[in-house]
């Protein structure tokens, strides 16, 4: 009971006690308030994250994507369907990723299925394989494997639609009858034809499947595309029959998908082996430190402060704008007239003429004061029309010169003033 009373007493003591200080009202929201305020966004973010997770789970894409045509890959690009069918028929399918394992299996007389989608194998390694294997089925052969296994057979691009009927002596092709769309073609030149290569499923000059004997003696079947083997298209047309026929001929199949270790550069040390183990962690650490520094510098110290600036317009801008207008429209006469009016007003003041004096009076007195002919003064002050910019500048300068001349003529000689402080003229 007393504990409860204490709890009540604690917060109320600063208010009831003599201490007047009370915590200032906080303007910024606390952690709880910010959570409450950002509730909507937090819920939206969580929902999006959950949705993405569910989507990924549904697509089955959670496992890392394997190499294409893997025997244990149920994805559209895999070949698990074919491998299962072969296994059901009593054919033992063993998937290997290294050349050594493939060679070992091939020596035991298994059919070698090769799909080198990334072009990892070089000629020498294909030659090694061809030397020991009895039967080789190559899906989508690349240039190197064609050169070694079937010299004279060349790549000839894709075919629109399905190729024609089998029409050849290969039993599997014969049973299949037709193939689906999306095949790729191979051509056989005369040398290859002479050395026993025959093509099936013709389309134009090319064939979707080419069979024959390699120079090393192995039975070779080259299938231009991967479609007859892939999960997504194996059930179309005669694809399945071709694939099962080619690979089910013997009891064992080596499913050889060359891995990174079979590459030519396999012996060379990788970047990871060359650098010490701490390099990547240090990079990550520095990134984290940079982010922390960014938060340190970027965290605003309180809300922005409003500065209401008054509007101040330089007054000379109207004058400058007017000058540019004169210049743009080449209003020479108008411009020189403004200067003339100003000059005449100043001259009449200097010459002690009445304010109502007209231009002619100013011209006459200015001419008298300076000793210039009245006609030229009148031309300068009234009549002359500037024809081009050069003349305008000359007129403006002459007006200035006239003004100075009148001033000099009217004003007492300053040198006298300087020599005689009393200003008396001797």
């Amino acid at each position: 009971m007393s504990a409860v009373r204490e709890d009540h007493a604690l917060p109320s003591s600063p208010e009831s006690g003599s201490e007047p200080a009370r915590a200032a009202r906080a303007v910024s929201p606390g952690v709880r308030a910010s959570l409450r305020r950002g509730r909507t966004w937090i819920v939206v973010a969580v929902a999006l994250l959950a949705g993405a997770l569910v989507l990924v789970a549904l697509q089955g894409a959670i496992r890392a994507p394997g190499p294409p045509l893997a025997a244990d890959d149920p994805a559209p690009g895999g070949a698990q369907a074919l491998a299962r069918v072969l296994a059901d028929r009593g054919v033992e399918v063993r998937q290997v990723r290294s050349l050594d394992a493939a060679l070992a299996e091939a020596r035991r007389g298994a059919t070698v299925f090769v799909h080198d989608g990334l072009g990892v194998l070089d000629r020498a390694r294909i030659g090694e394989l061809a030397a020991v294997a009895d039967a080789i089925v190559v899906a989508r052969p690349d240039f190197a494997s064609l050169e070694v296994l079937a010299p004279g057979v060349r790549l000839a691009g894709a075919v629109d639609g399905a190729p024609g009927a089998a029409g050849c002596a290969v039993p599997a092709a014969d049973r299949a009858g037709t193939l689906s769309d999306g095949q790729r073609l191979l051509t056989i030149d005369d040398d290859a034809a002479a050395s026993g290569f025959t093509g099936c499923f013709p389309s134009g000059d090319g064939f979707a499947v080419v069979a024959g004997t390699a120079p090393d003696g192995a039975e070779v079947v080259l299938v231009g595309a991967t479609t007859p083997f892939a999960n997504e298209s194996i059930d179309e047309a005669g694809n399945a029959a071709l694939a099962v026929g080619l690979l089910g001929a013997r009891d064992e199949v080596v499913w050889y998908l060359p891995g990174p270790g079979d590459a030519d550069a396999a012996e060379a040390p990788t970047l990871a082996e060359l650098t010490p183990g701490w390099v990547s962690p240090v990079l990550v650490l520095l990134v984290v430190a940079t982010i922390a520094a960014g938060i340190w510098r970027g965290r605003r110290f309180g809300p922005l402060v409003v500065e209401d600036l008054p509007v101040h317009v330089p007054a000379s801008e109207t004058g400058e704008g007017r000058a540019r207008l004169y210049a743009r429209s080449s209003a020479r006469l108008r411009a020189i007239d403004q200067i003339r009016i100003g000059t005449i007003r100043r001259l009449s003041a200097v010459l002690r003429l009445p304010r109502s004096a007209d231009v002619d009076a100013v011209v006459v007195s200015a001419a008298q004061a300076t000793g210039q002919p009245a006609a030229s003064v009148r031309a300068l002050l009234v009549d002359a029309v500037p024809q081009d910019d050069r003349e305008l500048v000359r007129l403006a300068r002459d007006l200035d010169g006239l003004e100075r001349a009148v001033h000099a003529a009217i004003a007492p000689d300053p040198s006298l003033d300087a020599t005689d402080p009393t200003g008396r003229r001797t």
């Binding site: 915590a23 990871a272 650490l285 340190w296 809300p303 004058g319 020189i336």
Partner: protein, 444 residues
């Protein structure tokens, strides 16, 4: 929440153990993870040990007003109401024009239950009210890695008054005013004069000012032949009314030289008011564009200037056209007597002065009116420079501007008012001189 530089340095220092232990990649990754967890843990502990920035009482100690250009001390008293020691950085939410000296980040270390004073020096850069709403407290933990931050309401207001630079001209004008007062009182009666005294005639006095009735009364009964001639003297009348109307419309926003027209008008109004209140005249101030932006009425002595600067402080020019038709009524509401009405405006182009010219007859019929405006001193130089084609056009434009100004001034004079036009630095003394002239001539 906020991080400090020390925290990012701590994270970066993880390089050392990662490199030393990380010959093997797996060990290196583990070390990295461990270090990051350690840094996070330290930061969390630091945050948990930091005092709450919300349990702080704030008192503000601030003078309410100062002149532009002066420096003032702003003090905050921070009282730590929490149970932990408050090590904090404090930022006061002044706008940039409040002119805080230094970085506006004050470090305080307040033990639990105690208070500390935070001082800032302010030199405001603009006239008007400078307002701060809140202070921000960033409370660091004992390790200085993470910090808690809160913004606390602590309103403060500092009124920055017009500087009144032109008071430098005041002593010389006051001297002339005293000369005016002490001078032989004028012998000719005018409209703005009042009876001063009777004195004996001395040679040189105007014979028209001899007061025969007084002379008769002063006749010495003992020596009837030796009557002394008495002269009636007049002096400039005191207790005249002066109404200063400052135009705060768009033309007042134009900047000439270093300051907007409005600030020059304020300087001139202040100098005139200071001078006139010394001379015993009563000064009223009106700030007007389309509505009354401010008014000082019935103040005298030292109170007058204080109230004037206070009224002027937060009035800036509005970008609207002035409504001159309302001015006569405003002047009437200030005084029904004859007064000197000083209009501080921009009489520089026929277009913008049309409104002014249309109401001038109403004002000049009842009052003596002076129209004071600031002219651009750079026009003079522009008119006489004729070196290149661009200069010639600029000279023509400047000449046009001056001619416009002259035309408006002539129109103003024709309507019975007088004009004072000078550059920003010269206008206040010029207006004061015009006032002295009018006063000396007894024409107020």
């Amino acid at each position: 929440m906020a991080l400090t530089g020390r925290f990012s340095l701590l994270v970066a220092l993880g390089v050392v153990p990662v490199v030393l232990l990380g010959a093997d990649a797996a060990v290196a990754w583990a070390t990295l993870l461990g270090w990051l967890l350690l840094a996070l843990a330290l930061g969390g502990i630091d945050l948990a040990l930091a005092a709450s920035p919300r349990r702080v009482a704030v008192e503000r100690d601030l003078p309410s007003r100062l002149r532009l250009g002066e420096t003032v001390g702003s003090e905050l008293v921070l009282r730590n109401l929490g149970r932990r020691r408050l090590r904090a950085e404090v930022r006061d939410g002044w706008p940039p024009s409040a002119g805080v000296h230094g970085r506006n980040r004050s470090r305080v270390d307040v033990p639990a239950g105690e208070g500390r004073r935070v001082r800032l020096a302010l030199t405001p850069t603009r006239r008007g009210d400078r307002v701060t709403e809140a202070i921000t407290v960033r409370s660091h933990g004992p390790l200085g890695l993470w910090a808690r931050q809160a913004t606390l309401a602590a309103p403060g207001r500092l009124r920055v008054l017009p500087p009144f630079h032109s008071r430098a001209h005041l002593p010389s004008r006051l001297t002339r005013l005293r000369e005016l007062d002490g001078r032989t009182p004028i012998l000719v009666r005018g409209q703005g004069t009042e009876f001063d005294s009777l004195r004996e005639y001395v040679r040189g006095d105007d014979v028209r000012s001899i007061d025969w009735r007084a002379t008769a009364r002063r006749a010495d009964p003992e020596s009837p032949g030796a009557a002394k001639l008495m002269v009636r003297t007049w002096r400039p009348e005191r207790d005249r009314r002066i109404v200063i109307v400052v135009d705060t419309s768009r033309t007042a926003a134009a900047r000439i030289g270093d300051e907007p027209r409005l600030d020059t008008a304020y300087e001139a109004a202040l100098l005139l008011a200071a001078l006139a209140s010394h001379a015993g005249d009563r000064v009223d101030l009106l700030l007007w564009d389309r509505r009354r932006r401010g008014r000082v009425h019935g103040a005298s002595g030292a109170d007058l200037l204080a109230r004037m600067v206070d009224t002027m402080a937060d009035v800036d020019a509005e970008l609207i056209e002035a409504d001159w038709a309302g001015v006569p009524a405003q002047v009437r509401s200030v005084t029904s007597r004859r007064a000197l009405v000083v209009l501080l405006t921009a009489a520089d182009s026929p277009g913008s002065a049309r409104g002014l010219l249309s109401v001038l007859p109403q004002l000049t019929a009842r009052h003596r009116v002076v129209v004071a405006s600031v002219t651009d001193p750079t026009l003079e130089a522009a008119v006489s420079r004729r070196d290149e084609l661009a200069d010639v056009y600029a000279a023509a434009a400047a000449e046009r501007t001056r001619l416009d100004g002259d035309r408006v001034a002539a129109a103003v004079r024709q309507l019975g008012a007088t004009t004072v036009a000078a550059g920003p630095a010269e206008l206040p003394p010029a207006l004061a001189d015009r006032y002295l002239e009018l006063k000396a001539a007894g024409q107020l």
